[in-house]
């Protein structure tokens, strides 16, 4: 039997990789994918919890996270397209219009 901790650590590792990607990549699409990665990390831990605690609530949460991820991807990518129209670039360091 694999201990629950292992799954949680795996989840933490994937999450950290996602954080790293989000913090360091310049391409906004990859940044977005890093976000998806983090969501998936959370999903892993939720499913693991659900399995080990013998409760379906974790999986229900995963279900909602997937829904929200789909919505987020739709909106986020639409924003990317809208941004790309104005800037013709996908590099976030070229987008600093919000500068104070």
């Amino acid at each position: 039997m694999v201990p629950l901790n292992w799954y949680l650590m795996l989840s933490a590792a994937v999450f950290s990789i996602g954080v790293f990607g989000f913090l360091t990549r310049r391409n906004i699409i990859i940044m977005f994918m890093s976000v998806e990665l983090m969501l998936n990390a959370v999903n892993i831990s939720l499913v693991a919890f659900s399995h080990y605690l013998q409760d379906l609530r974790g999986q229900v949460l995963v279900f909602f996270i997937v829904t929200v991820a789909a919505a987020e991807a739709a909106i986020g990518l639409a924003i990317i397209i809208a941004l790309f129209r104005n800037k013709a670039t996908a590099h976030v360091d070229d987008m600093n219009e919000m500068k104070g």
Partner: protein, 170 residues
Amino acid sequence: MLPKLFFGYFAFAIIVLSLLVITRRNPVHSVMWMLLLFFQIASMYLFLNAEFIAAIQVIVYAGAILVLFLFVVLLLNLREELLTNRFISAWPVGLVFAGAIFAGAVSAVAAFVPNFSGQYTVDVINRETHTKALGQALYTDFLFPFEIASLILLIAIIGAIVLAKKRMRS
């Protein structure tokens, strides 16, 4: 032993694939590695007796969200950007932050031992089939969040259309 071996394989594959996703220069390649990653995660869900979630993982994540990513990548056609730097210059800072988060998380879960047993044991799920059990949970206890989720999707559809719609040249 065998379960641990399988877990080891999945853990290794997932981590390597995650790293590949965030380090590839070409976004299309990133998407492809991510596709593989999703498959690994879905298979791992099968080992956790969550077959419906595994199916959802493939259908929604791989079949819909990632295709969306692929579409956008293809639509923007970023070939010229392949020549520039992948990472921001201060990437070590990011590494430190990510490492810190990892360390924090690991230290939090290292000693975690589950001690609660709910009603959905493996036997119950196998008897009732996972999909049915999940469906029952979704449509009774979680009906309200379920409806909200549908609303979110609706809003997302409208929002995406409004955002990405081509404005008529007037």
